[in-house]
Symmetry: C3
Subunit: 336 residues, 3 copies
């Protein structure tokens, strides 16, 4: 998929006369390719959509050193923050500095956030620590998401800032645990985590949903992702987005979101439809039909920028650029 | 109302050539009729809209045996879950198994969810238990809502799953108590419950609003229902829906939603307008004018599928089918 | 700005034939002018947009007597509520009656709402009380917001009702503290408050955002306001509204909302664009371009009522009238 998009975008770049800055695009494209490693959690999705040569590997992501680095970096950030803000030293000590690993800190932090008077913090910690500890891929996914937030959200000032406070980041991590429990048929527990995450973070992800790595849920309030939805790698989704089903019958009824897609705030994507890799969907759109790869769909109902027959192709990965508005000029009926 | 819709839909079925499967529709229609009992809480609304022969009665709903059955079923489900997931046995014991009645369990569960350091759990329990205990109709409404969720939401795996975790279900039950307090002029208490429900569940229902029975608030985050809004029986409302007012003057200023209506995610219905029984409103729509019964309104601003003069009539109850997308083909300007 | 709008609206009133009731408008206009005092927190914004004669002063707002009065009134309301609802007497005592000042009560109430097991209530109280105590303008802003809610929201029955329970009001007050900390380079603490407010109230306001006085966030769930956004005085914003950025590059990237603007539920305003003073934006709109002062923009994408070339000018301040629907007749393609 990565290679495919990379190749296509080069072609597209030539087709539209090379008007866009070549250097910027190449930089983006390289990052584009680098990130397209199939994610174990969404293997089926990858198999379905991956019809080209295998994508480049994220070599640096899998080494123990990289894992070490990010956790060490977070401890460093926490120390600095605690020093500058002594009133929070207890908070940083409990949350980060007294913890011995990224996964331990995450299990503790999620337990603190999600506990209530009938769900003791210890019970929740045991659940999170148990699942994270048994999953070698879990830490890699946590790291990929932390990097995604830090790189794409200009309002994120440090890894520890994201780790401690970003609702979207924390909701996805809790979801990964719930998804693993769901796979093991521990449905009651998985659904309980879903419900607590929905109450505490306002993010409602069914434990059956498959979410890739390097995913950013920005602001996150009101996001709803249904049971049979699939979200690829390196996707950016804003708050208030629904990946919803239709009908009261079970079965495969939710959207499949390709790698590198950007979905703007308040958008509804409904039904078992595919949003192709590298596509962009504008804010407050309603999408009820397939969106081809690397196109831009906007409006209610959504239309393709450039027209249905020959839609304009994006040459930059929208989830990385986070560009929500550059399509205005081509949105013909915009008359303000 | 039920009879009316039933009759009309048969006619409509013939009019459009009987192309839809007759058996499926009849089953739906029977359930349609069966559910149309005027709800005590929205009696005025029923009186206003009910111009035909009286609807069929929900006989089985009012017998003590049926009440007993659902609670027994929930205890059974809780026992099974606790057995399969010993880490949650304390949670199920406190929430369900140690409780002696459905209303007691509900009062306790709402108190657990809504308490904080300045609102002790005991105070809240006394309030909820008091109102639920004095209201013979309360348990019937709780049961109708539990059944609505279980029957219409394919992601709901058991009554106890809904009871313990569904924000929309819990928000409606807390609202019923707040509404009763509001009717008794205990406004400060009613508004306090509204505020806590808005904080904890992200659902903001003014205690003055009248909500029928058998109502599903799916996902529920971001739902806002104003003071003079009325919601009929057997309505399904998705997350992010606003039944809002207009203007700063008090008085009757919010929408009236008929029985069996389905409202998609993110939709705004504003002003004192009527949405007729059995109508469907698509996701992210903006509805500022009356929507006739059994029609489909979609878009921003909303339009009627089939046109204003001769709108297509639905022959199935949209809140039961939960079909959010079958109108695409008729949504003419949808060009993806 | 106030004078400007005042003058213009008189002219506009003549231009459109004086069909609107003169007396009502004059009353509104007087209040319009009365409220246009530059807010210290958004001085830069004021300086940029203020090209006319200086606005009238809010004399009564700055006197100690007025400050005293509102707090005395709140204590009176709390006493009455506690008397009528003895079950809540402890709640009212802790929250209001045992407090010695408005700012003390606010610091305590925010600490109660935002604390959790890793952020003790005492720590949060010290932070809020410290900042509020050092800021002579803080109490004035709190009062202006309380008055805004009470005057514009017909569902608000008393100051103490708003103070104790309105998520939007509490989120703005917590934001004011976070903004002051942000200005003092105490970023970790400011961002922590942002995150807790987003979790507890579902309102995500970056501490860098500049918010004026007399602002109403009605219902508030799902509101997102970005780092470089500016919101003028006397603005009314409904729930689900996004003042969002575009792109992954930092810098000035969020909307600037003028004084007296009304933004309907679920609307997205994206990018560094200006919404002129006294403009109205309909519910569920998508605004990606500048909206001129005192015009009405509605739809997805938003259009100006009256057309781009000669848009209809409002003669009443939309944030005060809270009129969300009177533009229907002019919204030409609305066909229901």
């Amino acid at each position: 998929m990565g290679t495919c998009v990379d190749t296509c975008s080069t072609t597209a770049g030539r087709r539209d006369g090379g008007t866009r800055q070549q250097r910027t695009r190449d930089t983006i494209d390289n990052r584009y390719a680098r990130f397209y490693k199939p994610c174990p959690l969404v293997r089926n999705f990858q198999t379905q959509t991956q019809t080209q040569t295998p994508p480049l590997d994220r070599i640096e992501e899998t080494t123990a050193a990289a894992v070490e680095d990010l956790w060490a970096k977070m401890r460093e950030e926490a120390s600095l923050d605690a020093e500058q803000e002594p009133i929070l030293s207890g908070y940083y000590y409990t949350s980060i500095l007294s913890q011995t690993s990224l996964e331990g800190a995450l299990a503790n932090h999620l337990a603190v956030k999600l506990c209530n008077s009938s769900l003791p913090i210890g019970t929740l910690f045991d659940i999170f620590a148990g699942v994270l500890g048994e999953n070698p891929g879990a830490v890699r996914a946590v790291k990929a998401d932390l990097r995604a937030v830090k790189e794409r959200d200009p309002a994120c000032i440090s890894y520890v800032h994201c780790f401690l406070g970003f609702k979207g980041f924390l909701a996805i991590q809790a979801h990964r645990v719930a998804h693993e429990l769901w796979r093991r048929q521990r449905k009651a527990l998985a659904l309980l985590i879903q419900n607590r995450v929905s109450e505490v973070f306002g993010v409602d992800i069914h434990p059956g949903a498959r979410i890739g790595e390097g995913v950013l849920l920005d602001h996150a309030t009101g996001v709803v992702i249904g049971e049979t939805a699939e979200v690829g790698n390196d996707v950016s989704i804003l708050h208030g987005v629904t990946l919803g089903g239709t009908g009261k019958i079970g079965g495969d009824r939710h959207p499949k979101i390709g790698d590198g897609v950007l979905i703007g705030a308040g958008t509804c994507v409904l039904g078992n439809i595919r949003v192709g890799a590298g596509a962009k969907i504008g804010a407050c759109s309603v999408v009820l039909k397939e969106v081809p790869a690397r196109t831009t769909a906007v409006g209610n109902p959504a239309r393709l920028i450039g027209g249905k027959e020959n839609p304009t192709k994006l040459d930059k990965m929208p989830s990385f650029t986070m560009d929500h508005t550059s399509h205005i000029a081509e949105w013909s009926d915009y008359v303000i």
